[in-house]
């Protein structure tokens, strides 16, 4: 499968994530869109790792080139999980105080 296809796919997902962040007001949804961005990145990483792996296999049958990419994905998932726990905690704390998850209400701090 040509790598460009994966790139286009992932960039599209990524951009959709960005657009989500920009268009939604619900903090949770915004956060979800961020997760979407991360997933797009993950997929792209895997695709690249396979690409490099394939290129390496031509010369060396036992090469493990590209494995770092997949491990990177693993770490991204780890971090994502951690972020989610913290993020949701913050959102909940916010909700406790304001009974709203609308980011447009976050305007006490400005100028």
């Amino acid at each position: 499968m040509p790598i460009q296809y994966y790139i286009y796919l992932c960039l599209t997902l990524f951009s959709i994530g960005i657009i989500g962040v920009l268009t939604r007001r619900n903090a949770i949804i915004v956060f979800m869109c961020v997760e979407l961005m991360l997933n797009a990145v993950n997929l792209l990483l895997v695709a690249f790792s396979k690409m490099h792996h394939g290129a390496a296999l031509v010369t060396d049958k036992a090469s493990t080139v590209g494995i770092d990419g997949q491990l990177f994905v693993f770490f991204i998932m780890v971090v994502a999980a951690a972020e989610v726990s913290v993020g949701l905690a913050i959102i909940v704390m916010m909700y406790r105080n304001t009974h709203s998850v609308d980011i447009n209400f976050l305007n006490r701090l400005k100028n």
Binding site: F14, V65, V79, V86, G87, I90, M93
Partner: protein, 462 residues
């Protein structure tokens, strides 16, 4: 390596001390002691003594530069804890946890000072950021604090996404997570012209790093977060963390600037000017000193970016000095600020009469931030400018910078004027003599560095 391990462990230790003792001040003491240990460990590191000897598989690259920065960060944190310990204890119930988080941040800092490869960069930045989201929101009842932390978190995670995309694109182009374009050039497959993919990746990385060091136009979180967060933690964020960000920034790009070529400098000078402009100009008309300091920290970032622009030895020495000078001064000011009842400029009116010592030390710190000679801040700025001039060209940039430095004098001196020349009864919470002596020592240190910057820097050449 020592710093990373020890700071992680110390984080755990702090949690235990939280379980064992309910006496808050104990935690501060433990933290201070821990920091001393950490400092020791880090110093040992540079002499080749390791807590435990592991093969880092080239994921780290320990060099004097990074280790030395660690020591600066640790010392700064120590000063911070000694000066602001009391306030931390009054911020909330989870004092021990706060300290633990601070230690985790330090762990992230020490990762960022020696990472080799984008993986560790990513992890380091996350370890540094996640505790900060918490600390920002530490004042749970305070809506501003909540808001700040949520803003910080949302934008931070968004930037994480951007950064990861950048890393991915680089990986796609080079097939490795190691730094620098040098490998990519000689490893064939690529046309001698650096690949667009890679450039795109680097740009995204650049953007995300700009966000972390609050360089315009990615600075927007800074004023709100610094303003909203509890003063103590703002001080920590604005100093050590930010400096660490710069160290990471420089280590990330120092080898690449050559290949990135002229457009890179164009882009960077654009960012620098924008940062200086927004930071300085916006700071002028702030009413709250805290928010003014937030903007001034943006302005200072603009100056620190010069190190990136020049990317030569002078710049690396300079950024270390800048980190030290800037951190010390800012910590000093915040230490005083959080003792004030009123964070506005008028709140400082007549401080010189009610609290001469505080006024004096604040003045010294402000002078240092303004870059007046005989204070550490002067040589910090001096190194930055010198580095750029040495790198050649871009004299216009330097001139712009000094003009903005003059503007910065305006808002820094507003505080001095309030303290010394305006009539008023500045109200503070009770001040211990220990605190005063601490401040005096800090001021003395700032002036000492200001007269003999090489005292700090000669360390750098052993």
């Amino acid at each position: 390596m020592n710093a990373i391990i020890v700071s992680a462990l110390l984080g755990v230790v702090m949690m235990f001390s939280g379980i064992i003792s309910k006496n808050k001040s104990v935690h501060s003491v433990v933290a201070a002691a821990g920091l001393l240990v950490l400092l020791l460990a880090n110093l040992l590191d540079s002499y080749g003594v390791f807590v435990l000897n592991i093969d880092t598989h080239d994921l780290f690259h320990f060099e004097q530069f990074g280790l030395y920065f660690n020591s600066i960060a640790i010392v700064a944190t120590l000063v911070y804890v000694l000066l602001c310990g009391k306030t931390i204890e009054n911020t909330g119930v989870n004092v021990a946890e706060y300290y633990a988080l601070i230690f985790f941040v330090l762990c992230g800092v020490s990762i960022l000072s020696s990472f080799n490869g984008l993986l560790m960069l990513f992890l380091g930045i996350e370890i540094m950021s996640i505790p900060l989201y918490i600390l920002t929101g530490a004042d749970k009842r305070n809506l501003k604090s909540n808001e700040a932390s949520l803003k910080y978190f949302l934008m931070g995670s968004f930037t994480t996404g951007i950064m990861l995309m950048g890393i991915t694109l680089i990986y796609g182009a080079t097939g490795s997570f190691t730094l620098g374009l040098s490998q990519t050039l000689d490893s064939g497959g690529l046309t001698p012209k650096t690949s667009f993919l890679q450039i795109a990746g680097l740009l995204l990385l650049f953007v995300s790093m700009c966000f972390k060091v609050s360089a315009a136009p990615f600075h927007f979180w800074t004023p709100d977060v610094y303003d909203g967060a509890p003063g103590v933690f703002t001080s920590f964020m604005a100093t050590i963390v930010k400096a660490a960000g710069f160290i990471a920034f420089i280590r990330l790009f120092e080898n690449n600037t050559v290949i990135l070529g002229p457009t890179w400098h164009l882009l960077l000078s654009f960012v620098i000017v924008a940062t200086l402009l927004i930071g300085n100009i916006t700071a002028v008309f702030q009413q709250s000193v805290k928010r003014m300091l937030a903007y001034s920290s943006i302005a200072q970032a603009g100056f620190m970016l010069f190190a990136l622009y020049a990317a030569n030895d002078l710049a690396k020495e300079g950024i270390l000095l800048y980190a030290a000078a800037y951190s010390l001064a800012t910590i000093g000011i915040f230490a005083v600020l959080i003792k004030m009842k009123d964070y506005t400029f008028d709140g400082f009116n007549g401080l010189a009469k009610t609290q001469p010592v505080l006024a004096l030390t604040t003045a010294v710190c402000l002078l240092s931030l303004a870059g007046i000679p005989l204070t550490a801040g002067f040589f910090a700025k001096y190194y930055m400018l010198a580095a750029v001039v040495k790198a050649g060209g871009a004299l216009w940039l330097v001139i712009v910078a000094v003009l903005f430095a003059a503007v910065s004098v305006y808002y820094y001196f507003r505080v001095i004027q309030a303290m010394y020349f305006k009539e008023g009864e500045a109200e503070t919470v009770e001040i211990t003599t220990g605190f005063k002596t601490g401040l005096l020592l800090l001021a003395a240190l700032i002036i000492l560095i200001g007269i003999f910057p090489t005292l700090v820097l000669n360390w750098f050449y052993f």
